[in-house]
Structure formats: C-alpha cells, structure tokens
Subunit: 493 residues, 2 copies
C-alpha cells in the first residue's frame, strides 16, 4: 500500500468496491476511461450488483472511446445506463441503444471531452479511473490509459480511483499528461519528447474512494489473420511505392494511423512486414500488430492514448517494459488526436468503414442509416486532418449479399471532402484531383466487387443522364439498401 499510495492522507480512503458503489445516485453523470483494457473493473461490477439488487439507479456514462463489456454490458444487464455519451463498445449496449432503451449521444471525436469541459453536457458527478497508484502529492499515476482521464478529473465533483495491483509500477513514465490551453501544443518533431507530467493532476479532496483490485482484464484474443486485410495491405503498399516514384513520398513513410479490429490489424502486419522501416505510429490505441512491428525492430516511435493489447501481448509488454517504454508515449486524446498534431505530423490516416459510395462518401457508424455499430471515434479527427485520408474495407459482406460500395451511403460520417482514397480487397481508388463523375467510375472499376459492378454502372449511367455536377439519381440512390431490407440481399431477386 505504501508503494502504491505514496500520498499518506489518501490511504484512509481505501474501501471495498461494494462500499465505493454506494457513492452512486440515480441520474448521476459518471465518466470513465480506458479501452478493452485499462478500465476500472471492480467498481462498476459492484455498482451493477447493487443496481440489480436494489434497482432505482440509472447513470449517464461518459467516455470518448469504446469501453469493455465489463462496464457497458454489465451495467446494461442491470438496467443501469440511461445515456451513453461517446461511443458504443459492447454488444448488449449496442442492442439496447438500437431498441431505444438506452439513449446514445455520439461524441465528436477528440472534441467531446473539451465540450464537456465547456459545460455542454452539464456537470459531471463522478469519474472512475484505473490507476497504478498515487504520487506523494496525491496525484494519480495512470495505468495503461490516458485517453480522456485528465478532462474528467478536472470537471468531475468526485473521483473514485481503482488501483490495479496487477499493473506494475514500472508503467510510470509511459504517460505524458498535458492539457490544452491558449498556446499551441508544443510538440514539434519527435513526439516522444515529454511536454507534460507523468501523472493526472487532481485535487486530493475530490477523491471519494480508493478501491484496490487485482482483477485482470476480460481476456481479449489477438487479431486474427484476415485475408481481406492482406489484400488491402498489398494495395496500400503499392500505392505508397507509386507515391514515392512520383516524388510525393520518401522511403521514410509519414507517421501512420490505423484503426482497430482484425482487418486493420492484418493491414498493419502487411505494411509492417514490407521493405519499409523506421515506422512511426500515431494511433488512438496501441494494438498487438504495433507491438509486433516494434519487436521486429522497425519502429521509431509510437504515440497513442491507451494500450489495447490481447492478454498474450500484454504479458510480452510487461516482461520487457523498459524497452517498449523507450519508444512509446501515451497522451490525452485531446492532444494525440488534435487537428494541429495530426496536420503537423502529416499522418497517413487509415480507417475502416461500413460502406462507401460513388461520391466517395463513407458510412462508419450506422447500418442502413439507423443502427449504431460503434461510432466514428478517432476516424473523425484523422480523416479530416490526415496527410492522406484512406478508408478501407471488404467490398462485400454477408457472403456477398451486401455490397459495401453503394450508389449513396445510408449515413454520412465522412463527406466526399474528407476522403482521398478508398481501398477494398479488389483494389485502390485514388480520388485526388478527380471530378464527381470520374470518382464514381474509378470507385466502381477499382473497389466494387465484380458481382455489383454492372448494377453500379447502370445506376451511374442513369444518374449521368440528369444534368448537374454530381451524377445522382435520387429516385434510385437508396435502391440497394431497400432491396436488402426487403429481400435480405442487395442483389436483384
């Protein structure tokens, strides 16, 4: 305890998770942070138990990123979430939102914590964070997530710190906590150079409870090999090589941002195993493939907001912590994903999506324009500000019944202005410098699955008959989606 809680006055605040759970009231706004690891586990489990037994408590849950099912689903099962603000991370929460049982207000990428600070969502009552300990002044030493923690600590009336004894104290120093003010973010060149402090500043009197926990994260598997990701990675590598040949890139690739999931993981592995070296990763969360490329000795630096590792990768990370720490920094999402950082570093933004259309618009979030999947999260900031904005995904889904290339997406998360390049396993469409008609033709020819090219070309031919700058036929633009709704397939019956 002495080693973990260096701040003597705070030691008396240690309570059980069940006692901490008594601090919550109905209608509270509760913020937390983390990803599929690094989130507080014991307190929310105890809160869910309390709600199940007593009922009568619903909270508004704030976190800019997707959380583990150990928070979201456990609370949903207990009927304990009124509103989720940010992103949807887990299956049961997703279903409850889509049934209309839980309100969901999507966050505006890295701007969401700043908007909360401005009072747009009202006062925040409590923040619950995982940590490895408290400094001698009573500040909080982060575990594996910085993310939106600093903003929550600033605005929340009360703080519950969950000290995870399974996280080694040696994590200290991986973090660089800096709050945006009226000055430019003072990161120039190598982002490993620290600009802030290695802890979350907090008024110790706001700490209402400290919970000691030795729970592990719910085990999450490694990203599985993905055939589509393999092909997409190859198309991207070819593109980089062509840009180098054209003098628009050098052998030292710009920093790369890549999302999460099996497909993105495989894309990253493919890129990591290429002839390129000295990678720089500017990623919202640090995933297994990043670690593998570090292990291969091909990484200059990794800048992120949190770790999101499988159990296996975490064990590897822990066993060789100093080596990983030497090339890695975790910062607040308001810094890492800030437009000025992304633009200044010149990041290649590679993000997955649900569907793409002939205008180059991208839907990342809502199936059939209506059902939330996860949310836009970091793609919001990276696609707008990246040196290149690239969206990737398989050309079809559900065994070919769904074409990811449609005449018009059912929901627009990224406008035609935010999308430079689209990639499917079929090929890569470089939309730069093209007018709308040319874009549509290239997307059909390069990205669409052959089964759907004819239908898409027919649509385009009809749309071009009408006058206008963008070839659009509003009568037919939802036809693919309507067929899917009615007949379970986008193909004509």
């Amino acid at each position: 305890m002495r080693e973990r809680i260096r701040h003597r006055e705070s030691r008396g605040k240690v309570v059980s998770a069940e006692e901490a759970a008594l601090l919550f009231r109905d209608g509270m706004k509760v913020a937390t942070s983390g990803s599929t690891m690094g989130y507080p586990k014991a307190t929310f489990a105890a809160l869910a138990e309390r709600i199940k037994t007593q009922g009568g408590i619903k909270i508004d849950l704030l976190c800019a990123g997707p959380l583990s099912s150990e928070i979201e689903d456990v609370l949903v099962d207990a009927g304990g979430i009124r509103t989720r603000i940010g992103v949807v991370g887990s299956e049961k929460l997703r279903a409850a939102v889509n049934r209309g049982e839980v309100r969901f207000v999507e966050g505006k990428g890295a701007q969401m914590p700043l908007q909360v600070k401005r009072g747009w969502f009202g006062p925040v009552d409590m923040v619950v964070l995982e940590a490895i300990g408290l400094t001698s002044e009573g500040n909080i030493i982060p575990a594996t997530a910085v993310y939106d923690s600093p903003e929550w600590l600033e605005v929340a009336s009360g703080v519950i710190v969950e000290i995870n004894l399974n996280r080694p104290m040696a994590l200290e120093g991986l973090h660089d906590v800096y709050q945006r003010g009226a000055d430019p973010i003072p990161i120039v060149g190598n982002p490993l150079k620290r600009i802030g402090v290695p802890y979350f500043s907090v008024d110790p009197s706001k700490i209402k409870a400290i919970v000691l926990s030795d729970r592990s994260d719910r085990p999450s598997g490694e990203a599985k090999p993905d055939r589509m990701g393999e092909a997409i990675g190859e198309h991207l590598l070819d593109f980089f090589r062509r840009e180098i040949a054209a003098g628009r890139l050098s052998e030292l690739l710009p920093p790369i941002e890549l999302g999460i999931g099996d497909l993105a993981g495989q894309v990253m592995r493919k890129i990591g195993s290429s002839e390129f070296t000295k990678f720089r990763f500017q990623v919202p969360v640090v995933t297994d493939p990043v670690l593998e490329i570090v292990d291969a000795g091909k990484v200059d630096w990794v800048s992120g907001t949190a770790l999101r590792l499988s159990s296996e990768a975490w064990e590897r990370f822990k066993a060789d912590l100093d080596r990983y720490k030497s090339c890695m920094v975790l910062r607040p999402v308001t810094i890492c994903n800030a437009p000025e950082m992304i633009q200044r570093l010149g990041v290649i933004a590679i993000n997955g999506c649900l569907e793409m259309d002939l205008q180059g618009q991208v839907n990342s979030s809502h199936v059939l324009g209506s059902k939330i999947l996860t949310g836009i999260a970091g793609s919001y900031d990276y696609s707008r500000n990246g040196l290149y904005s690239i969206f990737v995904g398989p050309s079809t889904a559900k065994g070919g019944k769904i074409s990811a290339i449609v005449p018009m997406v059912s929901h627009v998360d990224h406008t035609e202005h935010d999308v430079d390049i689209l990639v499917t396993e079929q090929g890569l469409a470089d939309l730069r410098g093209l007018d709308p008609g040319e874009r549509a033709e290239m997307i059909i020819g390069r990205c669409a699955h052959p089964d759907y090219r004819g239908m898409l070309s027919d649509y385009l031919a009809g749309a071009k008959k009408e006058s206008g700058h963008i070839p659009v036929a509003l009568e037919e633009s939802s036809a693919f989606h309507l067929r899917l709704k009615r007949f379970g397939s986008m193909k004509p019956s």
Copy 2:
C-alpha cells in the same frame, strides 16, 4: 513606376495585358487569387479576347475561393476553362459546370493550396496576381487579397504580376504573409501581432510579365437588408445571452466567423448593433458589415484573408486607410482558416446553407444533390473546428415551395457531428447533448416552417417505428426532393 516597382531589374518586364496573354498555352494549370475584388483584371480579359479570336486554348483554373465573373464568366464565354479547381464564383461558370461542359473539382477548404503544394494536382504553370507593387528585392506587395497567393507563388513555374494603380501604396502593411511549416503557427492571443512579412516572397526570375492596370473592380453592391437575416440575428443574440446566463460565455463574445451574402450581412449587422462590444472577427473575407461595425467603434480586431467590399465601402476604406489598418490583418487562408487557429481562438462559426435535415446534417453546395451552387469553401474549416458550429438559413425558398428542412439532405457537406446549432427565421435549435430522436423533434419544432411541420412530423413518426438509433425511413427520405423534381414544389399536389 519607380514607386510601384522598386526592384530595378523587374522594370523591364512591364508589358501590355495583350502581350502577357500570349504567355498562356493550351492545357496550362493557372492559379490566381482574390475575391470579388483584388483579382487580376486586365490579363484574364486579354486572355479571353485572345482565346475568342484564336481558339484552341483551355486552361485549368485554380483558386481556393470564389472569383469574380470578370475572370470566371469571361473565360467561360470564350470557352477557355477546361477545369475549375476550388470553388465556383460566377453564374456562367456555374451553368457550364452543371451542363457538364467544364470539369469542376471542389477544393477541401484551406487544405487545397497545401495539397497542390504536395503535387496532388500536378505542376502549376502560371500564377496571375493583383498587387500594388514590387519591393526593392523584387518581392510582391499584395493589394487587397492574400488568400492562396503565397502557395501559388511557391509552386508555379511562371508569375504574372498585375499592378493595380488604383490601389494605394498605403495598403502596404495590411498583410502578414507566413507559410506553414513543421512548427505550430505562432499566433497566440491577439492575431494583429505580425508573424510573417508584409509581402509575397518570390524568386524574381519567375516573374514573366508585369502588367500595369488602372481598371476598377466590377462594381458590386452593398449587402441588401434582409428580413430573414434580421430574425436569425435576433435568435442568435438570444442564444448568446442564454449562454452567458448559463456561464458558458462571457459578455466578451468569442471571435466570430460569418460568411458572405445578404443574409449573413444582415445577421452580422444585427449582432453588431446589439449591446455587445469589442467584437473580434475572424473571417475568410472582410465584408461591408464588418467595416460598419468597425466604424461604430465596436471592433477590437479583424483577421481575414482578403477584402470583399462594395465600391462604396472600398471608397470609405481607402479614405481612412490607416484607421482600418490599425485593427486589421490579412493572412494566407492556410493560416487564417487553419484548424489550430480556429480552435485556439475559439471562433463562433456562423455559416449559411442550402438545406438542413432532421439529423442535423447540412447541404451547403449542391441543389437536389447534384447542381453545384458555389462550394463549401471556408465553412469546411470553421464548422469542424469552431467553438460553436452554427448554420443559418431561411426555413423555405421559392415562395414556400421548398422547405429548407427536409427528412434527409440530398448532399452532405457537414455531418451531424459538425453541426451544433441550426437557425432559421422560425427559431433556433440547440442540438448539443441530444440524441438523434430528440434532435429531429427540436429541428421540426424550432426551425421548420409551420407549413411543413406536419409533413416532417409524419415522416419522423414513421421512421421511429423502425428499430434503430437514428430514426430514418429510407423509403421516404428523398420524398420531399422527388416531389420538388416532379411537381415543382415539396408540398403535396
């Protein structure tokens, strides 16, 4: 001539506009800059004459902002534009683009000149700029526009300088020319403090011709009084007062960005005539109403990229130049509209639009999803990065036959994530913190015209019957537009 061309070696380059026009070849990429004033007049007029006589020349015309009809329409009349890259400023160009006779590639706000610098649009052959003179080192002293000039001068192989003798040399010093690099933009606090130089740096050997001109701009009228703008301005003022009462704003309003046109002008006049003072305007272009509020002694500073004044206002400006200069600075659009500047200054972004939908999505650019009007221009940068992102417009058009509030916009320029507040003459919808169903109800109740509220509510009720996070009925989402196309009105026949 000595006073205007201080660089002795350049004096021999003075030629007639007709001679300068001989420097153009078919297929050239030609960049220029300016707004409805401050654009080069003589050279493009002579080029159009040459094309009319000889034929066989089509150029690609680059400029991030909308240009005067004296460039765009005159060249279109001569059949001299193959591609317009940026924004459409003039009537005949608009029609030619929508007929498919001129290619139009829309620019990505302030990122467009940076993308050209990266080689995304190929080499630029010539840049033609209006100036007031040359420094003794041969650099170019801007007239009334900085805008995208510095980037064009850096990338273009050849330069034609058009010195407008009608522009007083006393304009010198109004400008602050700075190019973005790897460092943060060093503007902190008051943006009047200069960070660059008062001229465009250029390699004098690139200057192929200097044209002396005494042409005036095509006279443009003052913004007319606008009843809708009056009502919208009043709703905005009420909103600011409520934000102050809630402690989210202070009496010193944040810097304000406002677009162009009669409606925006009237909104600005309304705000300017209120109890608020010490205005700070961060505007892409400086318009008549800005000058009027300066005249009223209520402005601390104006930061923009170019002047866009009526002939009357320009005369006033010229007559009292030192006073206006003391509170004003013109910078490159890549600085003025940079995300980091807009975020750091905390700008209230107020932009006009064509249509808004029940999700809070905004169409700024394409009528019926197809016909280009102007383009997104600065709204791209300000709506995404503003402290508040506000879109304004009348609730109906064409004598009530068109509702600006529709179930789903026919083209998305600004996603639901980029829109905080919608305002029509009917009222103001503050969408912050609402979920999609609540947003839709508020937009119908506050912004829609009473004639259309029933139809919109019917649509929403139907959409809510389907399961999902966003109430959407894809079968009906284009119904308003399809009725307009078929029957000339969105109202049921």
